[in-house]
Every structure is written in C-alpha cells, then in structure tokens.
C-alpha cells in the first residue's frame, strides 16, 4: 500500500513539473516523434515520391541534429502507394493505427489525397501536403488539419495568364489535356482572361499520352498566338514541343511558358533542343539571377542535395518540390514546438497563427481561413534549361 502511494505521488509530481515547465503530458510520454509519409515511389510517377522522400529525409536529419522536436528524436516512415488511391488509404491506416504516427506528409497524387484526407480528418492527424496540386484538397472547413506548401493547379494557371498579360502578350493560346486537371485549368484560365476582358486565341486539347502531337501543334500555330501556355504532362509536353519544332514554331517566333512540370530536368531531356527558350515557373526562393545567387541558406541546401544526388542520380529531381517537402517537415517541427503539444488541434492552431516562417521554398503564412502556404505572388518565370545547383535562372523579360 505504501509503495502504491509513493508511485502515485511521484506520477502526480511529474505531471505537476511538466505542467510548470510547459510541456504537455502526451509529449513527455513520447520518446520519438513519428512522421508518416505515403507517396508514389514506383511506377511512372516514381519521381514524385523520390522528391518527397529526399525532402523529408534532409529535413529530419537537420531537425535531429539540432535537438529534435521538443527533445524528441524524429523518425520518418515511408510507404509506396504506387499512385493507387485504395493502396494509399490502406497504407495511411497502417501508419496511423499500427505505427501511431504523430503527423503525416504527402501523398504525391491528387486522387490519393482525395482518398485519404477524410480519414486523416476523422483521426485528427496533421497533414502537410508538399506536392499534390489539386485545388480542392485545401479547405480549412472540410479538411481542417491539412496544410499545403506547394503551389496548387489553380494558382499556377492564374500565374501563367497574369504573367502573360503583365508582359504585354495579347494573343494567348493555351494547351492542356482532357483530364479533370486539364479541363479545370481551362476554366481557371478563362476566368482570369474574362476579368481582363480578353479571350484566348485558342484552347488546344489532346488526350493524355497521345503520341501524335502534330495536329495539336498545327492548331496552335494556326491560332497565331504570341504566347502559348502549356499545362501538359512531361512526355506529352515534350512530344508537343518536338511537333512544334517540325512546324518551325518555337521561341523566339512564339513565346512558350509551361507550368511546374516543364521545369523538370527529365522534361528538358526528352524535349531536347525543342525546349530551348521555353519558360517555366518556380517559387522565387529556388531561383537565381545573373546578379543574385539566391538566399545563402537556400543555396547551401541546394548544394547539399546536389552533392548527394550528382549527375544521373539527380536528373529526375525537382528542387522546388524537394524544398516543398523539406518545408513540410520543418513546419511540423514549428507547429509542435510552438504548441508544445502532440494534439492535432493545438498544432493546427499554432500553424494557423504562423504569419511568417522563412522556409527553403518560400516565406509561409497560414490563417484559420487559409491553409495554402504559396500563392501566385511568390512565383517567377524561369528558364529551366539554365540550372545552377538545381536552382533555376529567373527570366527578366
């Protein structure tokens, strides 16, 4: 009996001490902070998962070197969903129920995100989305624990059109596939053009994975645009540029700008010479200019990644996506450290009160009504053919 009283007293005292020093009991009980991460790490979109893994691993290594999260060592657990929504949900369930993760980073495909987010809400798990661009995924009411560090589809579309208008282009042609993503982009771009009393020179469409892109190129050329905005997947976009090369309709005869996928080195490799002079977009922090090498901390991280993945090992990597996932893990650290809690509602509140966090990719701020970390104002036009340590050359038009 005496022994029981002593143990109970000790437990109560320890709770009291923890409360006094400001750490919740749940944090003190944990020795390790677990980040679960699911993404496509095999199949045609494996490079997405590779970017996720590298970004999270670099961040976790740095966090642990600097003392972890509130003294807890951080460990990331990765799973491959093969871009299959059913598999993604099964894996997330396993991570939450068996591994008992504290936060989740991923996934890498919008369809997988749609499949898992209701479950994450039900289980109250903080989710940091670093690369899934579907606009519907971020909704503070529907998905209160989901935050995003990557630019979404809609904002990319808005940026492309606004940038073209700002640079004095009058005849804007758009090319995209007939998937839900492509048709959504068409609507977003139409809205921006309408708001400037403009209409597109043409909206050229094709089916994803089409081989013969010559008719699409021909349609674009016959519309006589002064800029073509490409919302095309990697291989499709490369085939389109090759078809336009055959029609002798490439920069400088016409300006061409693509969305984030066209910044990938693998896209440039596939398109070859036809990608010369084709602009892309990137968040400002992952760019440099002839007079500005970029932020020193960001350049240092870029060099570190380049050293770890030299040559062919790094050719399917996209620096700003890696930065985005790196920032996801760092934001988890910030949220837990600020809230001093492992409770999703507390971490959520801490992230929502974050009005300026300087990440590798951008400066982030969230609020209770806005869980998007990036907006079009943080993007710039780049020439992705001119890489330095994986960073893109800013185009000064």
């Amino acid at each position: 009996m005496k022994k029981k009283i002593v143990i109970s007293t000790l437990i109560m005292l320890s709770f009291l001490v923890m409360t006094v020093i400001g750490i919740s009991p749940s944090i003190a009980a944990e020795k390790e902070f677990l980040i679960g991460s699911v993404g496509c790490m095999s199949g045609p979109a494996a490079m997405l998962g590779k970017n996720l893994r590298i970004g999270v691993e670099f961040a976790v290594e740095e966090i642990n070197k600097t003392g972890g999260i509130n003294g807890m060592n951080v460990r990331a657990i990765f799973r491959d969903d093969e871009a299959d929504p059913t598999k993604a949900l099964t894996l997330v369930r396993e991570l939450v129920e068996k591994e008992k993760i504290h936060a989740f980073i991923g996934p890498t495909n919008t369809t997988c995100a749609i499949a898992i987010q209701p479950y994450l809400v039900a289980k109250k798990i903080i989710q940091l989305n670093g690369g899934t661009t579907g606009t519907v995924l971020i909704d503070p009411k529907g998905f209160p624990y989901s935050f995003r560090t990557h630019i979404n589809d809609k904002d990319q579309a808005i940026f492309l059109v606004k940038e073209a208008i700002a640079n004095g282009f009058k005849r804007i042609a758009v090319v995209h596939d007939t998937s839900a993503l492509g048709m959504g982009v068409q609507k977003d771009m139409k809205d921006v053009l309408d708001s400037h009393d403009m209409t597109a020179a043409t909206f050229a469409t094709y089916n994803a994975n089409d081989i013969d892109m010559l008719p699409v190129a021909r349609k674009l050329k016959s519309a006589d645009p002064d800029i073509i905005l490409m919302f095309t997947l990697m291989a499709d976009g490369a085939r389109l540029l090759k078809a336009m090369e055959r029609l002798d309709f490439l920069p400088p005869k016409v300006a061409i700008q693509g969305y984030a996928a066209t910044a990938l080195p693998i896209f440039r490799e596939l398109a070859g010479n036809a990608s010369k002079g084709v602009w892309s977009l990137a968040p400002y922090n992952s760019t440099y200019s002839k007079t500005d090498p970029g932020l020193p901390e960001v350049v240092a991280l870029a060099k570190k990644i380049e050293a770890a993945y030299p040559g062919d090992k790094g050719k399917d990597l996209n620096l700003f996506t890696i930065f985005s996932y790196y920032d996801c893990a760092q934001l988890v650290r910030v949220g837990v450290a600020r809230s001093k809690s492992l409770e999703a509602d507390q971490i959520k509140a801490a992230l929502e009160s974050l009005d300026s966090y300087e990440g590798a990719q951008a400066n982030y701020s969230f609020s209770s009504t806005d869980h998007e970390g990036l907006d079009p104002s943080k993007l710039v036009t780049v020439d992705a053919n001119q890489l330095k340590h994986g960073m893109y050359l800013r185009v000064e038009k």
């Binding site: 095999s42 199949g43 469409t205 081989i211 010559l214 008719p215 990697m234 291989a235 002798d248 596939l270």
Partner: protein
C-alpha cells in the same frame, strides 16, 4: 495538310508493325498475344541499353535485341499458351495468362530501368529535312520503309514458301499437320520467334517517337490489335492497310474535329468496320487455301 498525312502514315505504320506481329501468332495458334505491346517495349528498352548505354552500332543493336526478344516471345509461349494445350478456343486461360505476362514484363522493366521515359536516338539523326515544304525526320521515312518491307516479307513467307504453307496448315488443323509430318510445335515456335524479332524492330522504330519507357506501348497497344482486326486477322496485307487506315483516320479526326475526341472517333469507326465486315478488309480463310 501534307505534314498531317505524313504524320498519319507514320503512326499508321507503327500500328501496322504491331498488327503484323499479332497476326503471325494468330496465324498458327488462333489467339491474340495480349503481351505483344510489352514485347515491343522490351525491344525499345534493350535497344536503349545496347545502343545508348553500351554504344553498339544501331544495326548490331537491332539484331541483338531481336534475338533477345525472340527468346522472350518463345518463353512467353511456353509459359502462357502451351499449358492450355491445342484446343485454345475452348479456354480463355491464355487470355488472362498473356495479359498477366504483359503486366509482369512492364513491372519488371520498371524495377530494372526505372519508370520515367527516356529519349531514344532516331534513325538518321535528329536533324529535320525539308521535303516539298514539309519538315520531317529521316526516322519517319525509315519507319514507313521498314514497315512496308516487313509486311512484304510476311506476305511472301506466308504465301510463297513451304514454311508459309506449313504455318497455314498448323493454323487449320494441328492433328492433320502432324500426319503430314510437320511439327506443329516447331511452326508455333517459329512464329513466336518471328513475332518477337519484329517486336524488337518495332521497339527501335517506336521509341524515338513515344520515348523509351516501361509504359511506352500502353496507349498504342490497343490500336495495334484494332489495326489487325480492321485489316483482317491473319492477313499481313490487312495488318499493313489496317494500320495505315487507323493512323490517317486519327490524324484527320484530330484536325477536323478536336484532338480530345480522336480516340472516340477512331474506335467508333473501328466498331462500325467490324460490324459491317466482321472478317476485316482482307479476310483470310486458310482452311480453304491449304
């Protein structure tokens, strides 16, 4: 417009190449090899290793890759067709087996070579040449010429040689063929070997256009089957013409209507063709000929 016609002819030649090899298997076994697209992919991937990575001359690369893929095709026969015996019409096991083998080939290729597509050097280099105001790659001319030569080769082999007669006899009735002293098994193996070699050549020709990767034939594989059906299963002339019809039809539908509806239009026409003329344009009935 001329460039669209050329583009349609090139795509049509690609479909024809697929259809030709599908036909040669159909000629002896009466089945369609649903893993054929993946054999073409293997041709492209081995081509990438032999020509780009190792640096073999293109012709040597094609011959070596042709041999390797022919062996794969023969192994495919032993593992997915032979277990179902002679009466393949009475079982659908081969259908699932060939489909499954295709998926295995694709997944293993992903494990070995990774998933993303890679550029493949075109025959004759990347420089565009201008013919009558149309920019084309030399490679596209090679695609047309080689496809035509393969179609003629198969036509001659099937119609003018003893091997062709033996193949047709095997297609007609295996038991009777055995009584005539012809090894049906050897005929089938010869056809699988030939289809594998043609698949490798197709891989070399297709890869510069689609890019080489484990998924390079996913979208065109089905059209290869379509071309074979439109032309008439078992006819090399039919495969060639069926492929070209499909390619030109695609190019036209992308221009006249909208590229987004291209596949719907092409498959609608294919269904109509099959409905009106189920035996295809060049119907072949070996039973009557042998």
């Amino acid at each position: 417009m001329p460039e669209l016609l050329i583009s349609g002819l090139v795509m049509g030649s690609i479909y024809a190449l697929l259809a030709l090899a599908i036909n040669i298997i159909y000629s002896t076994t009466g089945i369609i090899n649903f893993a054929h697209g993946e054999l073409v992919m293997l041709g492209g991937m081995f081509g990438l290793v032999l020509v780009v990575n190792i640096g073999l001359p293109l012709v040597v690369g094609i011959v070596v890759a042709g041999g390797i893929v022919a062996v794969f095709a023969i192994l495919l026969y032993y593992s997915t067709i032979k277990p179902f015996g002679d009466n393949l019409g009475g079982s659908l096991g081969w259908l699932m087996a060939t489909l499954g083998a295709g998926i295995i080939f694709r997944n293993v290729a992903m494990l070995i070579w990774g998933s993303h597509p890679r550029p493949f050097p075109p025959l004759g280099g990347s420089e565009l040449i201008n013919i009558f105001g149309v920019n084309i790659l030399q490679h596209e001319i090679w695609v047309l010429v080689i496809t035509l030569l393969i179609a003629i080769f198969f036509n001659v082999v099937l119609d003018k040689t003893i091997l062709g007669s033996a193949i047709k006899a095997t297609a007609s009735n295996r038991n009777t063929t055995r009584l005539m002293g012809i090894s049906a098994e050897k005929m089938v193996l010869a056809c699988f070997g030939m289809s594998g070699a043609v698949a490798a050549v197709a891989g070399f020709l297709i890869s510069p256009i689609t890019f080489a990767g484990p998924e390079m034939t996913v979208s065109i594989g089905l059209k290869g089957f379509g071309a074979a059906i439109i032309g008439g299963l078992g006819s090399s002339r039919g495969a060639f013409v069926g492929g070209l019809i499909l390619g030109i039809l695609e190019a036209l539908s992308m221009t006249v209507v909208t590229p987004g509806y291209k596949d719907a239009i092409v498959f609608l026409v294919m269904i109509l063709t099959i409905t009106i003329k189920p035996e295809g344009i060049f119907n072949v009935t070996y039973e009557k000929k042998v």
